[in-house]
Symmetry: D2
Subunit: 328 residues, 4 copies
């Protein structure tokens, strides 16, 4: 809502709900008072076809049923859940423990990692917006894997996220007194973003490998950092790695390859659509450490969704997404 | 820098420093990489007259010497320190324990509480941007005091601020391990914003009274809440108070008088130039509780400074200041 | 559990539950692994009479039914809810919006503000452990009110609490992403601790008055600070106020009247049973500001409950309660 | 101070300082009011020999000069800096960028990883208390490395620490507004604890290898988590790893090998001397993930120092160290 409100080409925003029909959005979220005082509307399939773009932001297992009937009916569909991300139906059912979307709908969709799939995004009616962790991981690793600068079969990814990644539903993982002043490791080797990362490495990096991936909950609201480790290909130096990233992302507005001497932290992208990355070679072990940060709610969710809307609608990719990070 | 970068009428920004000449701003603050990669410049009085607007953001006691020679030399001067806020030189020296600015420069300046002093701001060469606490206190109390709806001689103001209000210099009050998971009361009855509040009540509310004012440091980065208590004038109801605020601020873009049933918290203005206010009458004691929130770094500092720049430059007051609060 | 585990006279601890029978406590709270690996037991009235002491820690409205049948059956009953705190049944029903406990049970109970009601606590079978806010407020104000050093009819109490005061049940008020980096005012003039404070002022301070009381939620887990304001009685100085507090609490192990030059913050009592207090007179307005801090989970709940157990069991008041605060 | 105050065999505590002579400790740290109101004393070598035990808590490069003259003069010396930890003088000078302590003093010292070096600690006059990160890493890895259950040449250690690990001196890394709501990676591959970890693996695990080690600053005060990754030795299962840890630490009071279904987080050891560990095998990549948590200020510093004092003084290892973690 914040980002759409800033978007110069958005003329009208309606919000639909399955459970809070009639509630004024600004009573639920007082920061939108004067900016968006409309009530939430009841979902109605017929109404939904009247929009140019539909964003669906639901738990897994909802849009697999809701969106397929709308494909080709008019609106560009941008789904923020995991329901259309995995090409392999069995993977979805194994990791999400739910019934998959119909394979035909998945085949009609485009994976919305904007920097790597722009042509498909431009043409698709349904865009599967990537998960927050896969966005940070893939953007920082794909050029290096594709150029075979590391041995990706040895990839170990240690990921850390702020608490808003756990969603809006109160529960023990998001209960202040259990989360504040605390760091928790969770879903070790079992996070549903693992197959999405592996699929992305195969699809865009042309390399097939399982990865070790763990996730940690950090006592902050926003931000993801992924720290990835891999053996270097023989002869590859830090400079080669950095140049590779700079070359791939030359001219891409939301990617920043950071110089060595800067501090590197999640807050440098807070509230913005940037993905910042940083590389250090460990000469003692001949491994590379590749670090990446995003705002999980912007480049990791709503920001990338709007970036995809821009691409799919023929707008400049950065339209409405020029927010300067809120560092302090 | 964040706000100026968003401002459509700002063409060029240069940063001057007394101690870090040559440092790349984006090395110090990596979130500005690609957005502002310029070096800090050495302060040079002659150079400074070449700009349309100069913002001065220094500790107390610096601009009282730095700015007077520049008055009338071209640039609109907007000072974010306390050096030109107090009309009474003795007050400044008592509360700030420093030598005051020359009385003539003070007389040439306008107090920059935009909503209450727009005509003077429009004409002045030097604008004394208000303190963070006085902004939140005065905006929420002035209409009610001016209309004599409360007995302002009984005013008690309990103020709470995030840690960024303590400035950018590391010290015990800003040391993470002493501040995190901790609430501190400080400068009880001794904060230098007290005379500024009393002067504002007199100047704009036509009422002369000392106030009881205490300040608390809250373990968060941004945000100020002021909770003010006063006896009600006989016959005044909650509705009368709310209507008074709504009438005074009708059409003012940055003031929001919040309805009763909403939650009321600092984060609803996070990153924005809003000042939100809320009133509750306690029928058991016949007192009013008036609560106000601002982002201390925006409406309490840089945002109001840009609002003043807009007014002083003949621009629409909201230009470049339409940031939606970053609630979560 | 933490405090009882440290208590040298406690031989056996059993935990009863209405909803999680059989759950290992240490699976739910891993920090008790090796220390308390027992399962939660199902509540059984007959079993409960076998203990020397029963602590009841439930939402309001539960112990009003659960405990009365156990009075006089053997165990000392210590109730941490509000069900037996208010002598006036109508007050309970007005503020808690629930059916009161039987008036006879209330009359048999003692209000457990240990420093002020020790004789009654020693003799009662049922102890109504005070609320967290009333503990901090009453301990710091009672001597001053009783000695008529302030005009208590003008009392304004601005209270701030960490999030653990909102209980263990996940909900919007305790949701990390809504609470972190945020300060919220809630239940303005409507908190159910108001009648408890007024009753305590009347019972122990011999003064009957309504008070203005507001509550704020601070982004930290533990800690309460109450900042109280009142007009001074003519001729009373800061020294008189401080001496009054020091005299009343001379020799009381858990009360610390802090010297002026120290910092004053909630974390100085973190994890301990201390109540620290501090007084400043505002000579410009002739008012006193009285500040008090406790750990809401210790002196504001479990610690005071154990202090009451000690008193009621003829033990030294400090037994098992010598925890040094965990400042950093 | 907190832990020594609780210790039943400690009779007298004096505090020495190089810069704040005469300051009352309780004015600096108000939480110790009534508990420790003594002034800080000026360091005087002659006086220092009058104690049974001396703890030195200084930056690196101080005790290398201060302590050697005191060896054999009476007191057991327990040094919390890095000055006597590294047997190889060149390593110290390379990683700490300071002149090493005399090699003879280093040879007379014992490395104070209590669970692994008890005999040497018992006999030494000088104990080099381990670094916080090495304590967490070594305790969780040594049994598994010693038994060759993983290929330690592939070890990657991703470490996360609360801000108190950065010390008590205010600076950008500990400035609240830069650290709060932020996660920072720092000293990538360059932390001075790397040679200490490698030395411990060689000395106690009989395996010589460089390790990849990175460190992250988490917005919380206390707590360290280390997440270590390594290829499994052929045929090794999760059960084998867990049994190995349980066997090695059978009967050790401060080590807890956590069951699979519990949550695993830093706060479960908050304020206590526990080191908790947890192991998960990733069957898809045939790697082990070994996680360990300590309170960096207790088992990672003062707690282990007192544990070493107990061992060196012939007391029960747990004396004064039975604090239950403060989970919420």
């Amino acid at each position: 809502m914040r980002l759409l409100h800033h978007h110069p080409e958005v003329q009208k925003i309606d919000l639909y709900t399955s459970s809070e029909e009639g509630t004024l959005f600004s009573m639920k979220y007082p920061h939108t008072t004067k900016l968006y005082d409309q009530p939430l509307l009841k979902i109605d399939q017929a109404q939904l076809t009247n929009y140019d773009v539909l964003f669906a932001s639901t738990p897994a297992g909802v849009t697999s049923r809701l969106l397929p009937p709308l494909i080709g009916k008019g609106p560009k569909l941008i789904d923020l859940s995991g329901d259309f991300r995995l090409n392999n139906v069995a993977d979805y059912e194994l990791w999400y423990k739910k019934t998959s979307a119909p394979i035909k709908a998945i085949e009609q969709s485009a994976y919305g990692l904007t920097e790597w799939n722009m042509e498909a995004i431009r043409q698709a009616d349904l865009i599967a917006n990537p998960g927050c962790y896969p966005t940070a991981v893939l953007l920082s690793l794909l050029p290096i894997i594709k150029e075979r600068l590391i041995d990706a079969s040895g990839l170990i990814i240690d990921a850390k996220s702020g608490v808003s990644g756990a969603g809006n539903t109160p529960g023990p993982m998001t209960h202040f007194s259990e989360t504040n002043e605390n760091l928790t490791i969770y879903k070790i080797h079992q996070h549903q973003h693992i197959p999405e990362i592996e699929q992305g490495i195969e699809q865009f990096g042309n390399y097939k490998t399982p990865v070790t991936f763990t996730t940690h909950l950090v006592p902050m609201t926003r931000g993801i950092m992924t720290t990835s480790y891999a053996p270097l290909t023989k002869g590859v130096t830090e400079e080669v790695l950095i140049d590779c990233l700079k070359d791939y992302y030359d001219g891409r507005p939301f990617i920043r390859v950071m110089p060595e001497s800067a501090k590197f932290s999640t807050k440098q992208v807070y509230g913005s659509n940037f993905c910042d990355m940083h590389v250090k070679v460990d000469p003692r072990t001949n491994r590379a450490t590749i670090v990446s940060v995003i705002d999980n709610l912007v480049k990791g969710a709503a920001g990338q969704a709007i970036q995809n809307m821009n691409v799919a609608s023929g707008l400049e990719e950065t339209t409405g997404l020029n927010q300067v990070p809120l560092f302090i």
